[in-house]
Symmetry: C2
Subunit: 406 residues, 2 copies
């Protein structure tokens, strides 16, 4: 597994990213911009707020750690890029040793495939005939695009569209583990896999079993127990497929909370980690194998910078960053350097910080740096991530698949 992530490579992507940043989501009018700016080289504290900032040293460390932590297990990494939606970051993940990436939606897959990522496994299903046709066009252009299926009618629809497009499409069967997506494990899954295998324009590639409900359970032991329980029927299904002669090349699942629990699952091939790159307060509280209170396998690299705009009331600060900048999940955002602060983004436009004790006095104009509650939906609010190195803007990463929920 290659692992030649380096700074030169990174700068190369950043350059690409910087150019692409001019394309989407940024133009605010047809007239010339009133305030053209070059933000590269600025201190992050000179950025206007709210700003989405990524500490590149920490992110690169997380990027390496996931591979280091899995060394010797034989398990690969297929990062889920729904977390960051940036082709530039997906490229870094590939260079760090990923075997491919995951995407959630068709439009997201297209952004990745059309921007230099050749191995894309879309974990969500396409149901409408228009999406299925587009997916097959995408597959025609990009041979590394793998699609998911979770019911027989859908398999037949994929077959028809693949035939129409004149291709043989790679397909994985998504297993139902949390009553969300997927085909029931056991016979229904086996039969669906066999159907895919028999359909002339589909190629059965393997199975998905992602237990989204396990990722945020507090306590390593509890997550492990849940995972063992989840994988009992999944493994039995896998065995039945092997026994029936199916070629289960891919057996993918697990996320940032369970990535290091899959070594004993026979046939399991790769983990779909996403949040490991950025971290957030939802993950920080789940605890790790060695630390019940803090999940310390990875470090928080993503923050939102907010400005204090009102300090009129004691034990309370108001910022310019509310639900439209931080989403509104629990637990509350964490203010760096102020463990006693509780950051609430309940207002659309305003953040409210309440505290018993502050480490210093805050005046209007002061900046707060916030570790967000849940990174995925927060990233989806912004058009760009500021890549920060040693406190300065090194790159601007365009979130090219932002808002691509189709």
């Amino acid at each position: 597994m290659k692992n030649h992530f380096n700074r030169r490579k990174f700068l190369q992507y950043s350059g690409m990213a910087g150019t692409a940043a001019l394309l989407p989501g940024n133009a605010i009018s047809k007239s010339e911009p009133l305030f053209p700016e070059n933000e590269i080289g600025l201190s992050k504290f000179e950025l206007e707020t709210p700003s989405l900032c990524l500490d590149l040293d920490i992110m690169e460390s997380n990027l390496k750690k996931v591979h280091e932590n899995l060394q010797g297990t034989g398990i690969g990494v297929r990062p889920h890029t729904k977390t960051h939606k940036c082709p530039a970051i997906a490229k870094m993940q590939m260079d760090a040793g990923a075997i491919g990436i995951c995407t959630a939606k068709l439009s997201e897959s297209q952004v990745m495939l059309e921007n230099g990522i050749s191995e894309v496994l879309m974990t969500g299903v396409n149901i409408s005939s228009s999406k299925i046709r587009k997916a097959m066009q995408l597959r025609k252009r990009h041979s590394g695009f793998i699609q998911a299926v979770d019911n027989k009618q859908n398999a037949r629809d994929l077959q028809d569209a693949a035939k129409e497009a004149g291709i043989i499409a790679d397909v994985v069967v998504d297993l139902d583990v949390i009553r969300r997506s997927g085909v029931p494990t056991g016979l229904p899954a086996l039969e669906l896999a066999q159907l895919v295998d028999q359909l002339s324009n589909l190629r059965f590639k393997g199975i998905l079993a992602y237990d989204g409900g396990a990722q945020h359970i507090k306590g390593y032991q509890k997550r492990l127990e849940r995972t063992v329980q989840t994988f009992e029927p999944v493994s039995a299904t896998y065995e039945s497929m092997i026994q029936s002669g199916l070629n289960v090349e891919i057996f993918s699942g697990a996320g940032t909370g369970t990535y290091n629990m899959m070594g004993d699952v026979p046939g399991f091939t790769d983990v779909q980690v996403g949040s490991y790159l950025f971290m957030d307060t939802q993950y920080m509280v789940i605890g790790s194998k060695g630390n019940e209170n803090l999940y310390d396998d990875f470090d928080p690299s993503l923050t939102v910078l907010a400005t204090v705009i009102n300090n009129n009331h004691p034990n309370r600060l108001i910022t310019d960053s509310g639900a439209k900048s931080l989403s509104i999940n629990k637990p509350s955002g964490m203010v760096i350097g102020e463990p006693g602060f509780s950051y609430n983004a309940g207002s659309d436009e305003y953040g409210t910080v309440t505290f018993e004790k502050a480490n210093r006095a805050y005046k209007t104009g002061d900046l707060l740096e916030i570790i967000v509650p849940h990174c995925d939906p927060v990233v989806n609010l912004y058009d760009r991530i500021y890549g920060i190195r040693k406190g300065k803007v090194e790159s601007i990463l365009p979130i090219m698949a932002r808002g691509h929920s189709r």
Copy 2:
């Protein structure tokens, strides 16, 4: 007050909007689009999902109703465009009789001012020197741009920047009514207004008093009681300003939940309604003057279309529209035609519908149309709103200020 909103005008905007839609947020790659589409004229049920749809007949009715309901009160409408972020819709509001619009942020103000809206009151304050300088440049180009201030230092900073820009800037003083933004009512507010009035490059225009906490209180009577209580110190502050000889030309506040309660407040000039255009389940449950159970002053015009992608489990449907498409506020989304459905967007990518009883059987590929919990943050997730008339796409409205939270 002009009220000549009509269909011809609307089509004119839609045309503009359709063109502008090509600019921001939509380009997905540097290569030619794989799937160029003309969606105008499609049935809304042919749109790919998730889609943000606006019933134009209902929206136009809401647009008229707010003026009809305020007729004879002497109170004007200054809609808050943070709800829709579309210059095209702001134009409709102006043509329907609005005296101007509100914006929350500087970047949002810029989008509106640079796209044909001349009267813009920004209700949030600018604190950083870079934003203040930009705001003054914007004011230099657009004389109808009014800025807010809520502390003396900020007033002095605005003065310096206005002087530097060679302009006299219009300023309103924001009053603190819910411990969020604003200067305390009473003497601090009076003194701030007097300071603004004295500073040579600022022109005192009036006051803001928006009680965000009152809007969603259930029960008309309770909202009224809260509003009367809120406005006691606000009105006293207003009186002290009048007595001190200040020219309080603007006295603005109230939202969709309290817009019809301001008739008795002396000097009050205009309401900052936003959600009245779209409505959402948070507003629908507050009750109106004549209906304790349903807020029926306005009708829901905004929906998200979602596709059923899994129906494996009884009393449960999974859709393709989760937190990235519907935000995650309470109460849950309302599925049109299925009063017994509870729509939960707790997963980033998936919606989960649970029910005891459905009016029909649902198969994968079926569409659900959802009234969202809270319209503002949902609109901020999309790049475009589909304008629907009699079930067909009539226009595509670009959400040009989407993500403009700075």
